[in-house]
Subunit: 134 residues, 6 copies
């Protein structure tokens, strides 16, 4: 099921084809996953989304590629995005995540969610020493 | 403001004192932040929470200490826990997070939240290739 | 799958039949979607929920019908309600949402989620000028 | 701070006065908390909201009053509603919640949030035996 | 689908077997639901998670067993955890939840979510009287 | 409080100055709100964020400016972003939102959140007719 009809031949649109070609070249694979196929219903949205993902996730930066995938999985879990949990868990594995690291990531997300609830339940005032703003 | 009254002299309770002592020893500081002070209203809850945080966050593991803090911040942002965002941003800085990494973490959490919404809006079906379960 | 068993012949209950009749009359269709069929396990809950939906969504008001559906979709996306994203996307289309508007709505929800995370990550203090409360 | 200006003399509006009088009578107190004062900017919204809260929270039902407050607090914590966590924690105490129960509620919400994240991270398929829908 | 491959013969691992045996003994059933089967990919995570669930959910405490399940369902709904809503609704039924109580719980969670949104939309300041912290 | 120190003289950085100048020109005001001042700690993040906000919110499109602000407020409420609720409520007022529309928006977000919880609690299967994907 989906809320948009996948475009029958998306690469007939030259803008879509250019994005798909860049995805294939960047990831060195012929596989285009469903998110991009569905976003193809609006080529401009597809272009902007891919450009942003590529710039952050497929470009060397101050955080290493696996760390970025771990953060991506964590956000996707908390937002309850089933598709994203699946796709980024696969991506993290492709970038070297071990089963031990996967289990530790889960434990960490679960712990953070737990202490988030405790701090919110208690309405703990922020310690003055944590304020970087003044 | 808070939903519980901070205990006047929390370390008069020996279980609370033992936890606070362990926090000080583990973190090598005299500072006990408000979350622990507020949790002291229930020594058992304090003990269990600290034991779990210590085991995951203050023990060498398959993820390095800074990565763990980055994941913790990410979860705390998505859960909207103001206290936790403050405390773990401070912790990440203490473990070496640079301003460039901080900015990149924010951009990453923001991007993940963005594509989470797109995938949920599209109700994209999960690609079969992502399934590790069968 | 579901957490309640759909009632075998829901309209045997006169209260359920009255609600279903009103849904059909209001929407000018014979189709009753699954949410109402499942809510029929408790006629009072069904009545109250439909009354509220009808009053806000099927009654002329200060916001036009399409705008109301767009807001409904936005909330449903952020809450991660798959059923609601599907049903309200269909409803928005029935009320004239174009593919361009759909893409723009997605981009907008994604952008709002993104800046929400940035503001929460930064813990930006609210500008005094935004305060309407004093 | 707030996004609406509190009405200067809200009870000059007879509909607002009727709601405030009913709140005072129902709760047997002269105190009207800020949520109702702020909702008074729109008397119809105030009326409908109070009617619903009164019907569920101040009317004998299949769940006892304290259980209802505990559920209310739990939802408010997960939704990150600071105001609601404060007001319903106070309400739960007024209805007899002990410090031990408060601590247990927090531990329970934290545990549920934890296993929610684990199940979402694992994308565990629902056991057929849990399906009540067929 | 799932993000981890279920272990083929999980009870070949003695730590997993011990947890599964304890689940069976505690719940007096031979049935092990999928969450535990999937967590078996990491025996330490399985052990810690079950120990915590058992301590809170299967041990007499200040909250009765049904109340604890109701709170668990509420948190799971707001977190959008499909698996958890299913498993804890089944558990609540096993502990005596009636259809009337189920309907009331849904109405309650829905009402709490509603007033959470109103308070957040209004940015209502917390009444001083609710502050337990000073 | 904040997690980053506001830059003392942000417009000494020419990239920051260019963004601030564009904000002033686009909005026809001298006022730069705190989100932009805080984002100035990373000029690249500031530039990208403003470019995206400007492209969607300050450029004529298929959705009118007020509708876009209403959707922005809705998302910000559900994400619990206090800063964003404040800033976009002010923006919506500046674009003509009346008090009646504001009240209706709140009622609508609250209703959507309510039915989101009901559909999630019931785990209602999506009607085949809503599927646009096949």
């Amino acid at each position: 099921m989906a809320t948009t009809r996948p475009v029958a031949d998306p690469e007939a649109d030259l803008r879509v084809k250019a994005v798909f070609d860049d995805i294939r070249a960047t990831r060195q694979t012929d596989f285009i996953n469903n998110l991009w196929r569905h976003l193809a219903f609006d080529p401009a949205l597809l272009e902007r989304t891919w450009a942003e993902v590529k710039a952050l996730m497929a470009t060397p930066s101050s955080l290493d590629p696996l760390t970025k995938e771990l953060v991506y999985i964590a956000v996707s879990i908390v937002n309850g995005c089933s598709y994203c949990v699946h796709s980024h868990t696969a991506a993290a594995r492709a970038k070297g995540m071990t089963a031990v690291q996967h289990a530790e990531l889960m434990a960490l997300v679960a712990l953070a969610a737990k202490t988030n609830q405790l701090a919110t339940a208690l309405q703990v005032p922020v310690d003055a020493v944590f304020d970087a703003g003044t």
